[in-house]
Symmetry: C2
Subunit: 265 residues, 2 copies
Amino acid sequence: MSNRMRSVAPQAHLAAPSPGETPTARLAAPLASRPLYLQARDLLLRRIVDGTWKPGGYLPSEPQLAFDLGVSIGTIRKAMEDLVGQGLLERQHGRGTQVVPHSSDRSRFRFLRFVHGDGRPFRPVAHVLAAATARADAQDRAALGLGAGAKVLVLLRTRSEDGVPLIYERIALPADPFAALKAEPGAEMLEEIYVLYQARCGQTVARARDTIATDRASSAMAGALCCPPGAPLLLVRRVAVALTGDPIEYRQSWTAALEYRSDLD
Amino acid sequence: MSNRMRSVAPQAHLAAPSPGETPTARLAAPLASRPLYLQARDLLLRRIVDGTWKPGGYLPSEPQLAFDLGVSIGTIRKAMEDLVGQGLLERQHGRGTQVVPHSSDRSRFRFLRFVHGDGRPFRPVAHVLAAATARADAQDRAALGLGAGAKVLVLLRTRSEDGVPLIYERIALPADPFAALKAEPGAEMLEEIYVLYQARCGQTVARARDTIATDRASSAMAGALCCPPGAPLLLVRRVAVALTGDPIEYRQSWTAALEYRSDLD
DNA sequence: AAGTGGTCTAGACCACTAT
DNA sequence: TAGTGGTCTAGACCACTTC
């Protein structure tokens, strides 16, 4: 007997929103003992990943989803709360539940960011220096989990404030899903590049890991950042992974003047 | 009318665990419209802060707390889930709910940590070089929110692996609650100092903010870390705050060989 | 066997947003 | 006014831990 065979048959849903409508999905067979709210969460996640509900779009209402999946509203709510906690969904009282889009205002990565030495926030503008496809180097391959001869799209850019370049950045992306980005009009100045990944390449960044170290300025960095070659720099390396768990971005950011800060836990 | 006046009187609790016992607390007056689960959460937090339930100790059971506060079990669960999410409580199926103690195995700060350049975890041993009370400098005062003539307890220590010192550290603590730490036996080698704050000074670290920058080695650092004076170092500054929200630790960590890493979001 | 937390349901009522 | 999510309750049953 499954944990879902109860005194009240779960099929007896009286709240069918449109008469004659039929449920569009059912959760696992009675034998599967994985909690229903986890199954529901994964199903919602799958539909976000496969684009059934697009970033910025709204999910069906709680009663509708509960009917579709054949579970109670409370179970749907628990599944949603999990995804809200991951920053994938956003609920708005009286309006509905939305798939969070990446945007410059509301980035999913507020917990680690560059700041000025006095704590002022850093409000940069990006400028792409070069965009080219190349063979992935050893670091790229390790970070992105690629094979020997794999190709990557490499972006070199600076990020400036008031016209002063403060960050020199190299971004490596797997050539396959990101080829469309190479000649993307308007991309050269776009600060929030994750919006582009999502809109043009269908890749949504879910999480990222940052590793911070010191490095010394190469001649290219020295030229871009107006510092002497060999000057000590802060180097932030980021590996960003998609909703599927695959790494999709390897980014290196060098800076001489800025600091890097975690939000208060 | 409050949001708690319903068709079923909330007082009608039949699950009184000990006959004749009386509730020990009641939530806000009917006029207060703040959600009950938030009131419950704050009350639980207050009892953790004031030591009613000590780190490592167990809370009363859900039915007991629900009876005490005059709310349903679901409301208690929601309040607890919030505190679990903050890392303050830990629930164990069949056993109970525990106030999380700081420990070297299970630190509340797993999200940012030192690692070796190749990604290996850093497993240090601490060695205190000096512990003395001093007048707080400008940085200490700013970080800890102290007044002009305030005193701080300053600890200088190294953190080594296999006998090799890799981090040079200065920790400033408000002299008032931390005076007991000065002559603490055994503290000299203790790596996880937050355990001491909690056990000896009644101060539980709740959250921390890290700011990462580059710096150059002073002669003291050069001596301790076996690097030339002026060598570029990674500097991590941390401000840790207590459950009350007051800053209680200002820590500066310098390293030449290590990197600093965030967990995968 | 008793007690604990974990899952799931059903339904009441409230508060916010749209129209 | 209708529809949405937010809060709160009550109770069933399950799974784990302890005795």
